[in-house]
């Protein structure tokens, strides 16, 4: 976990990623702490996962590979991917 300035897990995170995910999944962004995952959020099912990937691509202008799609199983994993692509969430 990086220590750069970003909302602590569990706080009402209002960065771009949280807004995007909240919009796609239809959950309040407070639910989207770093440890949030398909296991903790019932709306995050396999269908909305694909939708989420499309949203990440269009929102952050990145391209996500099929293997990445399988890896992105938590908010933290998504943040790691964005950082690796040099994108500010």
């Amino acid at each position: 976990m990086s220590r750069e300035a970003r909302p602590a897990p569990g706080s009402p995170a209002e960065d771009r990623l949280c807004r995007t995910m909240a919009a796609v999944l239809g959950v309040p962004s407070e639910c989207l702490a770093d440890d949030a995952s398909p296991e903790t959020i019932s709306e995050w099912d396999s269908m909305s996962h694909l939708n989420l990937v499309m949203a990440l691509e269009s929102e952050f202008g990145i391209s996500v590979s099929a293997d990445d799609v399988l890896e992105l199983r938590s908010v933290a994993a998504i943040r790691r991917l964005l950082r690796a692509r040099g994108v500010e969430a």
């Binding site: 807004r19 995007t20 919009a23 796609v24 999944l25 239809g26 396999s46 269908m47 694909l50 939708n51 990937v53 499309m54 949203a55 691509e57 269009s58 929102e59 996500v64 590979s65 099929a66 799609v69 399988l70």
Partner: protein, 607 residues
């Protein structure tokens, strides 16, 4: 549309992202009770769930709340054939079928170069025949409109750069398959084709399919294609369920030409072969195209009439002539007032008008005074005018009849008729001098599209306003206890085309009028009496004792309210049923109307 929903759609239009659509779809769901419900079934050979939020949003934009059923993965045929299938049980208004060639005809998609020419043809044939058979069977279980997507041409043609020169390529095969499929399925009542290939080309063959989602979840439609498919589906829904707009009402200065003619004079307006005049010229060309499709045109402009006349008469680059406009209001009174007058003159509802004006103040005023008018959001850049007009989808419809093609001319003839009426001393005098002819015939394949069109569109002179679907209409035509008639009329000024429809059904003693309607163009010429007298003849020939009808009042059908009373029907009870004993009919074929020989055709018969 509620303000919330409007706000959501505006936000989405500013940033049409995946997340934006997901969010908008939820907003749509929460305002569903304000939308017109429409039941949709989606059948696809692939995972199509991702399309739903887009469809919800695009349908809501056109005032519809969709209730979607999604058929099980890759079971299009079963869903169509099995009367107990989820699709048929859902009782959809419309069924959308999307298929990938690789799913319905793998050899044509994957092994093309290995196939002999005859095998290619056989595979394509089988694909068309099987689909047609499934749809024909489906038609027996459901009156739903069916919209079938065609097949996308290959992203990577097997012959590479040689594909375009080579004979009998995969690209050719798919193209032929699409055209044969269109011919075959369109012959089934209520079945239409969605040009999936064109949508793919529109977003780009390289961009329509999302490979990773395809491989991970058999969900091939990309984030670019999804909204495009949904927008097209929403246009189909609007064309199937909505009342289409009939008339485009245009402003002049800075709309049909650049500049204000009253200030810059005829020679000063921007209209011609070079920028910016060529932009306005092309816009006029697009408007002319609508006119040729059967859309009425009108002018609503604050101007001096003489200035405008001079532009029409003298400007060499005007594409539109005054004759293209069915109604013209050039004056200084407020535009909503003109709008009401235009609707009255053309005898159409205010809700069938579309308003195009570059001036945001005029648009705001129109939206406020007449929300029923569709006021288009016109951008300040005239290069965008054509796009806005097309994308509005306001005039999309699923037919193009001979009447549509001639509509503009017909309204010009109508103006000549009005002039004659003004000169005539009495109504009888006028009717006599019109030299009306009427022919009534059983509906056949040639008149079917226009009859369906009239059933869908007629609001005013109609007793029941039953919007029969294409499938239902076919059913009634084939029912020996039903008479389905079209009425064609003409006079010394020209042919009016098919302007009346009557549907009647009988039991052992009585004939019941299911539908009876006339185009408002011909109201007041006793044509309805001719049509009723034909129904009397039909019922008598079957040995029936009474002719019965009902009047179902709507907000608009007042013109037909006294049809039965005027013709000696008596109200049987409080239910609104009217009855005419056939041994004592107080009217006959009107003297002012000549019968056309065509009436003798088939069961059309002649009294």
């Amino acid at each position: 549309m509620s303000l919330d929903l409007e706000q959501v759609l505006r936000t989405l239009d500013e940033r049409p992202t995946v997340a934006g659509y997901a969010q908008a779809a939820r907003a749509v769901r929460s305002t569903r009770d304000q939308l017109r419900p429409v039941r949709i079934a989606l059948l696809a050979t692939f995972t199509v769930e991702g399309l739903v939020p887009y469809l919800e949003v695009e349908a809501a934009r056109r005032g519809f709340g969709v209730e979607v059923y999604i058929g099980p993965f890759n079971s299009v045929k079963q869903e169509l054939l099995d009367p107990g299938s989820g699709c048929i049980q859902h009782r959809p208004d419309a069924v959308f079928i999307l298929q990938l060639l690789a799913d319905v005809c793998p050899p044509l998609a994957n092994d093309f170069l290995a196939l002999e020419t005859t095998e290619r043809v056989r595979h394509a044939d089988t694909t068309v025949v099987e689909l047609t058979a499934s749809l024909t069977a489906f038609r027996k279980h459901s009156p739903a409109t069916v919209v079938v997507g065609n097949f996308a041409r290959p992203l990577e043609p097997p012959l590479g750069i040689y594909e375009a020169s080579a004979p009998a390529t995969q690209t050719d095969s798919i193209h032929q398959l699409n055209s044969r499929m269109a011919t075959s399925v369109s012959a089934i009542a209520g079945v239409y084709v969605l040009d999936f290939d064109r949508l793919c080309a529109d977003v780009g063959y390289r961009h329509w399919r999302d490979d990773k989602l395809w491989y991970l979840g058999r969900s091939p439609l990309s984030a670019q294609l999804l909204p495009a498919v949904a927008r097209t589906q929403a246009l189909f829904i609007q064309a199937i369920k909505g009342s289409p707009r009939k008339c485009l009402v245009l402003d002049l200065d800075d709309s049909l030409w650049g500049g204000v003619v009253g200030e810059v004079g005829v020679a000063g307006v921007q209209l011609g072969q070079t920028y910016p005049g060529n932009v306005y010229r092309d816009f006029q060309q697009a408007v002319l195209e609508l006119h040729r499709r059967g859309i009425l045109l009108a002018i609503n402009s604050k101007n001096n009439s003489a200035d405008v006349d001079e532009v029409f008469a003298c400007h060499p680059d005007m594409v539109l002539t005054k004759g293209h406009f069915a109604s013209i209001r050039i004056n200084w009174q407020d535009k909503p007032k003109n709008m009401v007058e235009i609707a009255r003159e053309l005898n159409i509802g205010i809700d069938s008008l579309v308003f195009f004006d570059d001036n945001p103040v005029e648009r705001a005023l129109m939206r406020q005074a007449l929300p029923q008018v569709l006021t288009l959001g016109v951008p300040s850049d005239p290069i965008q005018y054509v796009r806005v007009l097309r994308e509005s989808g306001a005039f999309e419809r699923l037919s193009f009849t001979e009447e549509d093609r001639r509509r503009g001319e017909m309204y010009q003839e109508e103006a000549a008729r009005r002039e004659l009426q003004e000169q005539s001393v009495s109504l009888e005098d006028f009717l006599k001098s019109l030299q009306l002819t009427v022919s009534i015939a059983a509906v056949d394949q040639f008149t079917f599209p226009r009859v369906l069109d009239l059933l869908q569109k007629t609001n005013q002179f109609t007793v029941t306003t039953r919007r029969h679907s294409s499938a239902r209409l076919t059913e009634m035509i084939n029912d020996p206890r039903c008479g389905v008639f079209s009425l064609r009329s003409g006079d010394r000024f020209g042919d009016n085309g098919i302007v009346g429809v009557a549907i009647v059904r009988n039991d052992d003693t009585a004939a019941y009028i299911d539908s009876f309607l006339m185009s408002c163009r011909v109201i007041g010429r006793n044509i309805e009496t001719a049509l009723l007298s034909h129904l009397v003849y039909w019922a008598r020939r079957r040995g029936l004792q009474t002719l019965e009808g009902e009047f179902i009042p709507t907000a608009k059908n007042e013109p037909a309210a006294d049809l039965y009373a005027r013709h000696g029907f008596v109200q049987a009870d409080a239910s609104g049923r009217w009855r005419l004993p056939l041994e004592d009919v107080p009217f006959g074929w009107p003297e002012s109307i000549q019968r056309d020989g065509q009436s003798l055709r088939r069961d059309g018969g002649q009294p």
